[in-house]
Symmetry: C2
């Protein structure tokens, strides 16, 4: 009999159907065995009674994470026996069970709160928890929202390379790759150069790119491999245009998440993010004045949290832009208008206490860019490929990069970005721990 | 004055507007200078007359790839002066020109056919040609078509890691990465293990992942870094279900490309691909019989081309599936039904002469998989993370992987996959040539 997906069951009451899925929970009541069976669309309760004696024998053997195909008759549950969730009103009265694959005894109770290391040690199992499925369903929504907003705003998607010859930031710690011909290559710390180049053909370009950072960070905010939501746009007057594009993009993502996952925000006990018509914007000095701290080239993590609290309280916004950082504290390609020196046209976007995005207007003049490279001790020869884009005419342009894992974490109030990464790589781990 | 995008110009006849873009071509007729100005939406002709004397002075200085902002009055062109393209019926009568950025003299004529090495040496410039813009616009459409078809078929997107501890294929040539703690890691040769793990939480999962191959290939089909369109699905009976999902996906992509880019197929002088209700399927032995070749574990490139010619002629299809390869010639995780030995449930999809996809039903039983690893000389200890997915219950499952660059190339009849890659990495090149 053809399989019916759980979500299609409510329309099948009174009929005999076949379902398939994972045993999520088995409750043995002696005469009755209840099975919660999960498939891609949700969990449905099945009940095995002594009348189905063969099924009963098999049901006794079942444990969580066994996969099964079950034939049964779909029934409405009595008013006072209804469960939670979309399929709480129905129940499958089991006629037969086939075991598709077995599971060993679980190393822990999956319904308990897991500490992060246990979660990470057992990802092939723990990614199956309701919490993990929520997190990565939300992450997919953010990806989809990003791409659809970019397209709506007339951007073209491209794929940026992961293997690069020189580190884009010229100095950030990059992982080294043994490449052909005994040469060394690096893993990209950002798709920056390539999206700037793509302004040439497409004027507005975006990419979802893997980025790699070899810094020996061990924090709740850093990963060795992360996913970056990048865009770049030409023919701008200032950093205000990429900020406007980003604002609309973030707003589109929040709208999609709010509309699609109201239940998820409830389960994570956090309201959907608040984003108004305009995201409040402070210069770094304004932010520092509000915080009562002395001038520094950037906010520290505590400062980011405090200024977000201020934005929430004073401007009713979960997002806040910080602009006008000192040029010397930003990447070499950041544009500085002579009238605005020593501050440059960069911006950071903070979300619920954490920087999730960084962007700027970029330098676009070939000679000026080479001058800046010299100032920073970078050898333009090493950047000859990138510099072609400028040699052959690149308009004033700018863009930004959003950390997918950070945005996912802040969307659901998750403390550590590693939990918002399906397979996090960090100082001590690639799937399994590197060393004891 | 606010900038108007070229595509919005036809509605502005008689009005004074500002446009911005790249000088694509400048034609100096002495008294008149014609400028073709390209922005993200297309090319529009501008004409500078002696009445605009300042503009004329500036226009004399312009060269291809300068970026400019131009103010002018939009006019309809006389019937007999109309050009090609969507904006062939209009013309901007220039009032003023501002140079936004300059371009050095181009190293070659951009309208000529470029040889591949020149194209690759000057990508930041050559990606701006009409041909390149077509190719990467098509590539975006394929990406979009893949993702939307996957979603429609109830798959969840996730991001697979690029840095891995062990090579998934257990033996394919993988690039080595110097990781933290002086350990060696590798670049993923496929997201295979991770998509199988993701069957656990989502039953149906897909990813667009970078894959890396260190083989010293120097062909028109191979890249050192490529983009893979991967999916994996649980609760299948055989490889026929992933083949059906893939067929629908390819059909959705072809429909989207055909609907969106009829002009592109014309420019590439190739009709849109033909895909019927069902993609013809041959076992490897059937294919070999048709080709009159002796049994071998796979088709060689010439065989792939010939069998595609057969499929086109005899079945009117640009696509053909080959199935039932010898198990020993396929990846270790390929499922072999005892009744079908020594052939396994793998499949390849060929498109216009080239293999663009490979897939199979996978092994799902923990003990059987460990047995297979031992047969192939692989140490299960090294795969302990991956094996957790099987230890804790994975249903019968399967999936496939499509090469984005190969599919793009075949869609437009491009001879070398490198031209269908924005920034190709190969044996001799990472942006610039590795060695002379």
């Amino acid at each position: 009999m053809e399989r019916t997906i759980n979500r299609e069951l409510p329309a099948q009451i009174g009929k005999t159907v076949t379902i398939a899925g994972w045993v999520d929970v088995r409750r043995d009541h002696g005469k009755l065995i209840f099975l919660d069976v999960r498939d891609r669309s949700g969990i449905v309760q099945c009940v095995v009674t002594p009348r189905a004696s063969e099924a009963m024998e098999i049901a006794k053997e079942l444990r969580p994470q066994f996969t099964v195909a079950i034939v049964g008759e779909l029934k409405e549950r009595p008013e006072n026996m209804r469960g939670a969730g979309p399929f709480g009103g129905i129940e499958l009265s089991v006629q037969s069970v086939v075991i598709l694959s077995r599971a060993q005894e679980l190393p822990f109770d999956m319904s308990a709160e897991l500490n992060l290391d246990t979660h990470l040690d057992y990802l092939p199992l723990t990614l199956r928890t309701a919490r993990s499925r929520d997190i990565f369903t939300m992450q997919e929504t953010i990806l989809e929202g990003f791409r659809s907003s970019m397209r709506k705003q007339d951007f073209t998607e491209f794929t940026a390379p992961a293997i690069v010859g020189e580190d884009a930031e010229g100095g950030a710690a990059a992982f080294r790759v043994s490449y052909h011909h005994d040469t060394s290559a690096f893993l990209a710390t950002s798709p920056q150069f390539y999206k700037q180049i793509m302004v040439g053909p497409f004027e507005r370009a975006f990419t979802v790119a893997k980025i790699f950072r070899a810094e020996k960070h061990s924090t709740t905010r850093h990963l060795s491999e992360a996913t970056s939501l990048d865009f770049e746009m030409g023919f701008i007057e200032s950093h205000r245009e990429p900020m406007a594009v980003l604002s609309r993009c973030v707003s589109d993502i929040v709208s999609l998440a709010t509309e699609r996952h109201p239940d998820m925000f409830e389960r994570f006990d956090l309201p959907p993010p608040v984003i108004g018509d305009e995201i409040p914007t402070l210069t770094l000095r304004e932010a520092q004045k509000i915080l009562g701290v002395t001038e520094a080239p950037d906010l520290d993590p505590a400062g980011e949290r405090s200024i977000c609290e201020w934005a929430k309280k004073e401007r009713a916004s979960d997002f806040v832009f910080i602009t006008a950082f000192p040029t010397k504290a930003r990447a070499f390609y950041t544009y500085e208008d002579p009238h605005e020196a020593p501050y440059s046209r960069g911006f950071d976007l903070l979300f619920r206490g954490l920087e999730i995005n960084s962007g700027s207007q970029r330098m676009h003049d070939y000679d000026a860019l080479i001058g800046r490279m010299h100032e920073r001790g970078l050898d333009p020869q090493k950047f000859s490929f990138y510099l072609q884009a400028f040699k052959y005419g690149l308009p004033p342009h700018g863009g930004s990069a959003t950390g997918l894992e950070r945005m996912t974490a802040r969307m659901l109030g998750i403390a550590n970005v590693k939990e918002a990464t399906a397979f996090p790589r960090d100082l001590n781990r690639i799937d399994i721990r590197l060393s004891e």
